[in-house]
């Protein structure tokens, strides 16, 4: 009885702390998601897994851009993603791949960037130390094509990073994680740039794997402003100060998983649209995902996700996506 009271007290304290800070959030910095189709953010988080799996997802989305109350673009996007993890006792090796291609219908271009293609490949190694701490190393490679302006209609960006991370278990149910990423960026026509991202996360997991489980997590990534001056015929390159906050609330009843996640990205960047003369000093993007899936202890999994992705700047982008998730747990 006393144990039960302590359990519920811990749960409410955790919910209060995590959900009180922001709305819903998502992350996999301190521990892995119960939704295995979602790639981990930090390598160390993956070390808390006790299973091996492979998953694949396909998604389609449609959306539009509104500028000055008028629909100026229509988007159609599709993409695939995949996650894989091999666990051998305390040693874990994993990776993920995500890609998205967009087609844009328009009468003419307006001021403002348009994402056209993007892909991210990630690989990592993680080690669990005596069941109370984990360390991980990894890296990612991100490539994208983006419309910038009339003279830069398809600009390629390559961004790669190497990462070190750690995660610690305390008070039986709580996890804290930390990750540092050294990021390098190459972009057409501008000088190379580099910077250091720092990510912190706090998570809690309650319940038994064979019964009911609840998991909450919140994490934040701070990416500082970094500017490299122009050199010879290459223009300067500015990485704007970016803050990413993620959160997740997941409920699993035996194998039936309900997962809600939110990721909010805020970029401090001044922009004035020459078409409307409106200006803004920051871009805010919010991605919200709700998923339902069947995730057994072993065997075939299947599920779906609805995703809403909005960007508020001088313009407003609004995407609705549906994702089909399949996978196998060994």
């Amino acid at each position: 009885m006393k144990k039960n009271i302590i359990f519920w007290k811990k749960l409410w304290v955790c919910l209060y702390l995590l959900l009180g800070v922001t709305p819903l959030v998502n992350a996999q910095v301190a521990m892995p998601s119960l939704n295995i189709t979602s790639p981990v953010v930090s390598a160390a988080a993956a070390a808390w897994n006790k299973i091996s799996y492979g998953t694949a997802s396909y998604y389609e989305s449609s959306g539009d851009r509104i500028l000055d109350d008028k629909e100026i673009y229509k988007y159609d996007s599709n993409g695939i993603s995949s996650t894989v993890l091999l666990s051998e006792e305390s040693f874990h090796i994993g990776g993920s791949y995500q890609s998205r291609n967009s087609t844009v219908k328009l009468d003419r271009y307006y001021d403002g960037e348009i994402p056209l293609e993007e892909s991210t490949t990630k690989a990592y190694l993680a080690l669990l130390l005596d069941g109370f701490a984990a360390i991980g190393v990894g890296g990612y490679n991100f490539e994208e094509k983006r419309y910038f302006d009339q003279t830069h209609k398809s600009v390629k960006t390559k961004q790669s990073a190497i990462s070190g991370s750690t995660s610690i278990l305390f008070l039986e149910n709580f996890y804290v994680g930390l990750q540092a990423d050294r990021v390098k960026q190459k972009r057409d026509n501008v000088v190379d740039n580099s910077w250091m991202d720092l990510t912190y996360g706090l998570a809690a997991l309650f319940g038994e794997k064979e019964g009911t489980q609840i998991r909450v997590e919140y994490s934040i990534t701070n990416s500082p402003r970094s500017e490299e001056s122009s050199w010879k015929d290459e223009e300067s390159n500015i990485h704007h100060k970016t803050t990413i906050s993620r959160g997740a609330l997941e409920l699993k009843f035996k194998g039936l998983l309900f997962s809600g996640r939110t990721k909010q990205t805020v970029v401090k960047r001044d922009f004035t649209c020459s078409d409307t003369q409106e200006s803004a000093d920051k871009l805010k993007r919010v991605e919200t995902e709700g998923s339902v899936m069947w995730v057994p202890q072993k065997g075939l999994m299947l599920g779906f996700s609805f995703i809403k992705d909005t960007t508020d700047y001088v313009y407003k982008d609004d995407h609705n996506a549906f994702k089909l998730n399949v996978g196998y747990l060994f």
Partner: protein
């Protein structure tokens, strides 16, 4: 037992803002009919190859005059459902569904009147579901529809995700979301959502005697878009309630279904409309060959106007476990 309690609470929380319809929770005992929600597909009894055709006529209550030719073809289609294990896939297609939708307006005397607008529709649906521990079901669906309305072509597509669970052996619950878009020529893209949920009771043995009772509700908020001439194209707000009862007695299946859909008018001067459908069916149903004959009557109402549609539907299917 605790997880059932949590699931029930979660389910009812979803039910409050949402609603649903039809064969949302469990599939019809007639294997030739297509499930209306992907998670319901999990509760099929084996694999099925089926086909259907339907004929109908329409008349308005005031004149009793048939507005269209007698018994026009109102579509033919097929369904293939494969259930090798705890995974079930269902592919269905319906072509040349000809129907006449009432379009309401206000005449010079200020009274509501309508014209019947011919719609030629073809659609396909794919649904995939997984069943866990014979208690839980999660499913996904893809739906594509093309409608020819006069000289205009309208394309609709949607994705559906739903989940369901069974407890106390015979009670089933389900909820889900359909998210879609409509592309009509000349108009901005129209995005819409439909929420649905339902409860069903199913008792007996599908190889001998069985009873199925289901109630469901479905709701969708209003969305609209416009073209360059400021004309609007609407996805009207609606609520749909449906109840069905089926009884399998030895090898004979009796089916009854009632559906009511209330649609909010897109224009202030026109009143809201409703569509009511009652359907009865009787046929031969085995794990093997099934043949069902359905007769239905639909009534569309708006203000004082009434438009009546009668339809006969025939399904034939072959199933195996």
């Amino acid at each position: 037992m605790k997880q059932y309690l949590y699931l029930s609470i979660f389910f009812f929380m979803m039910l409050l803002p949402a609603s649903g319809y039809g064969q949302i929770v469990t599939p019809s005992l007639d294997p030739g009919l297509v499930s209306e929600s992907p998670s319901a597909v999990s509760w099929r009894f084996g694999s099925t190859f089926g086909m259907e055709t339907a004929f109908g006529n329409q008349k308005d209550e005031e004149t009793k005059t048939r507005k269209i030719g007698s018994y026009p073809n109102s579509g033919y289609g097929g369904v293939i459902a494969i259930q090798p294990s705890h995974v079930t896939g269902e592919l269905s297609y319906k072509a040349d569904e000809i129907r006449y939708d009432p379009v309401y307006s206000i005449d010079s005397n200020g009274e509501t009147s309508f014209v019947l607008q011919k719609v030629n529709a073809s659609y396909g649906r794919f649904q995939l579901a997984i069943r866990g521990e014979n208690k839980y079901s999660v499913g996904v669906g893809l739906y594509r529809l093309t409608e020819e309305i006069g000289d205009q072509t309208v394309d609709k597509s949607s994705y559906t995700g739903s989940f369901g669970f069974r407890f106390l052996d015979n009670l089933f619950m389900s909820a889900g979301l359909e998210q879609g878009q409509t592309d009509a020529e000349g108009f901005d893209r129209l995005k819409w959502q439909i929420f649905f949920s339902g409860v069903a009771v199913q008792m007996g043995d599908p190889t001998s005697n069985m009873m199925r009772l289901e109630g469901s509700i479905k709701t969708s908020p209003k969305e609209s878009t416009e073209n360059s001439d400021k004309q609007t194209y609407n996805h009207k707000r609606f609520q749909e309630y449906q109840g069905s009862f089926e009884l399998l007695w030895s090898e004979f299946l009796f089916s009854a279904m009632y559906k009511k859909k209330d649609t909010e008018s897109a224009q202030d001067e026109i009143k809201d409309s409703s569509h009511e459908k009652t359907r009865f069916g009787l046929g031969y149903r085995t794990i093997g060959v099934s043949i069902m004959l359905y007769g239905s009557r639909s009534i569309d109402r708006c203000d004082e106007t009434e438009n009546e549609t009668d339809e006969i539907q025939l399904t034939f299917s072959y199933s195996y476990i």
